[in-house]
């Protein structure tokens, strides 16, 4: 069946199976590789995308559910000033190790920074709780997100 949605600002129409998850449609049919397959059980957050601006696990959504909605991945945000600040702080602060979870963290952190919420270490932690990292122990990730928020305030 055909599904149409907005992907990174551009309208797309894809032929999908009724039980196809958004993660598979993005990776296998639309060449969106920043979205990673970690658990397929809505636990690890490596496949996080924005659906109408909200961080969402793309493994936990059927593609038919995004009909008419806006899906955003890192591919569509590479020139965004918030993403640029985040990626530069992740690099500078040593928040990247294997890198498999990193795009998911950047997407979630982007939504947090975009929301304009007051940032405290506690709500940064709370917001990132749905993304698992097995390498860094999170400390440098939390520092990088906080530092990016500080830099963007200036």
């Amino acid at each position: 069946m055909k599904v149409s949605f907005i992907l990174n600002g551009e309208p797309v129409t894809v032929d999908v199976k009724p039980n196809e998850i958004l993660l598979d449609t993005l990776r296998l049919k639309l060449n969106i590789k920043s979205v990673k397959r970690g658990c397929e059980r809505a636990e690890c957050g490596a496949c996080t995308v924005l659906v109408d601006g909200r961080p969402t696990y793309s493994c936990n959504l059927l593609t038919v559910q995004v009909e008419g909605r806006e899906v955003t991945t890192l591919e569509g945000l590479r020139d965004d000033p918030i993403v640029k600040e985040l990626t530069s702080k992740f690099v500078e602060r040593g928040a990247v190790q294997c890198g498999f979870c990193t795009p998911g963290f950047i997407i979630t952190a982007y939504a947090l920074l975009k929301s304009g919420k007051e940032l405290t270490p506690e709500n940064v932690k709370k917001m990132l709780e749905g993304n698992i990292c097995r390498c860094t122990g999170y400390k440098k990730i939390i520092e990088a997100v906080t530092a990016a928020a500080e830099a963007l305030k200036k």
Partner: protein, 779 residues
Amino acid sequence: MALTEDPYTLISKWLHAREFLVVGKGIARADALDKALGTAKFVEDYFQEGMLFVKQVLSTEPHAKILRIRDEEALKIPKVVKVFTAKDIPGENQVGYALPDQPLIAEGKVRYHGELVALVAAEDIDAALRAAELVKVDYDPLPYVLNPLEALERKDVLVHEEVGSNIAFRTKVRKGNVEEGFSEADVIVENEYRTHHQDHVYLETEGALAIPGLDGRLTVVTAAQYPHLAQSIIARVLGVPASNIKVVVPFMGGGFGGKDDEGPLTAAKAALVAHLTGRPAFILYTREESLRMHPKREATIIKYKSGATKDGKLTAIDVKIIHDTGAYANRGPFILWRATVHASGPYEVPHARVEGYCVYTNKVYQGSFRGFGNPSVQFAAEMQMNELARKLGMDPVEFRLKNMLRPGSRTITNQLLEESVGIAEAVEKLAEKVNWAKRRAECESFKGRYRRGIGIGVAWHGISTSRGVPDWSNAYVKIDKDGSVSMFTGIVEMGQGSPNSSHRQIVAEILGAPLEKVKVVFGTSDAPDAGATHASRGTSIGAIGVLVAAARVRERLNKLAAELLGCKPEDVEIKGGVVRAKGTDKELSWDELIKQAYARGVDLSATGYFFLPKGKFNDELGQGQAYPAFSYVAMIAEVEVDTWTGKVRVLRIWPALAAGRIINPQQVEGQIEGAAVQGMGYVLMEQFVFDDKGRILNADMTDYIVPTTLDIPEIEKPVYVEDLFKYGPFGAKGVGEMALIPAPAAIAGAVSHALGKPITKLPLTPEAVYFELRKGGST
């Protein structure tokens, strides 16, 4: 003057360098931006529709004869190409690492619930999935054994009949006379410890893509921690020369040891299908398959007796270590050796007896995981130290320092440690930083529902392979005509960062080339064999070859530059793209120097082979040189225990490391923080639940729980003591595993302090702590 090519001379020359351009600096790693943007490629990113998809059929019995495998129904599914079983393997169906006991695909019988029985190849993922469910296996169930203590006794139920018992392997250490040692002791502590399986939960599951004919060979893109090992295992399974196989390991989404064991097997499965069909074949484990199939951290039973005099000197230890190795030995014998020779902890003990048993059971098998047999035995050793200190009325840190290994000490294998033993200084500095005695007293003032405790874990970890097992390093460095530098290594990039941080820094440091001109090509079997990326050796051993190769080229550049600048070779300085005669204004650019080298016949390519010198080791007595050097680590943890619910929170962790030169402090911190949190997960929340058939019931990330941002403690800046290792690159020793090793001891020690009770069993889940608190009717 003749050029120096001798690796010992070159290693020593750079070990004694005093000023550095990039070594010792927290330089960002080369791959970080691509990873942050999601453009760095992992195995699955190379898959394209149209390639064959391979799905696994797993055993549903813990121990059974395979009577028949019926694929008729499966083959009726459109787009299914073929079902492969053990009989389709053209080469040897043998993939055991330490012992030849393991098939790639079960043959004759299955030995655990989850073992691979058949592979289904289809044109389409859904077809492969449906077909795998339709492959019917007729089993004749056999009696099975799940408990290692029972397996030790049983002769009627054998996981491997040909062995004649369920003991896969035994190890021993015999030093001095243990009975005499205990007769000199004023206090004796005796306990039995239990530790459990842990899964790696790397975010990327196992995968491999095999493409026949690519680059003139069968090329396999896979996530394996040792490309040359994957290459040789594929060659063995297919019955072809290794030179017909190329293995490329792109960015890997975490390894932690698990992909050292499972990586080559994953690669062999894809390679088998590609080889037999002549088509590109792709396999990707689901999370459930990954959790059910791949080897786990060893589950152990450790019986430990130790004695000390009233002035606080250890006199003897008597240790029995039982590793539940599961269905296959895998690397179990090596894991057991590591546990055995480290059983004392980093302390001097005059009399020691250690017995190790690697025992088969009908469960998922044990394997490599960060620390490799050491976190469990260091936990037992350190809990013993706490109990001895308590009985002696001594402070636990003071008691440890009285017995700690120092330069000139002998280990329990009677190995003389001449140098590079910085642990005592590290522990002293750490205790001072933490204000140990005061903080300990403060913890004891918490009396209500929430109690506080503080604990210390001190550990050691041998660098390189154990005993006389050969180990080496190598790399290939070349400079192209435009002045750009390439370095090729078999060391992989799984997050640890050795190729993209320390290797790159070492090449830039030695050549004096600008960092941005240095490109590292990692994880390829076309590079010289540098050994595996495991055992904290990516930099400590892997970069020795990098250093030697680069240093050979530098010697040649110095000679050429000296001729061009009219100075002595030792007065040539190269930095920031400028080549200068020391103390003069005579200079030329890096690019010009390289042009001149090409014009004047100077070879700008070199390999850096180095064979690590090893001492003698007697396997019968377990005496001799166990490792060429040891890294040391200490960790202090402070916890809060909710006595109503049993929930433990780790509040703060203070690490200390004596691992030689710190090449990149930012990356080393990252390793310490990550290992500490992985260790905390192991102690507090991670565990498998097995049913009565040895099946894992929680093979998903919903019920196998790993730490999130909300679980983490404050982690303080590490204390470093740079106790240089003479063969290490710039004196570096291993780092990657280190901070996980003392974590169980530090955290369990803190919980024990908070509760005022000894802890002998992990994990410390809320229910475990809750019932521990209520044992004996108290609280």
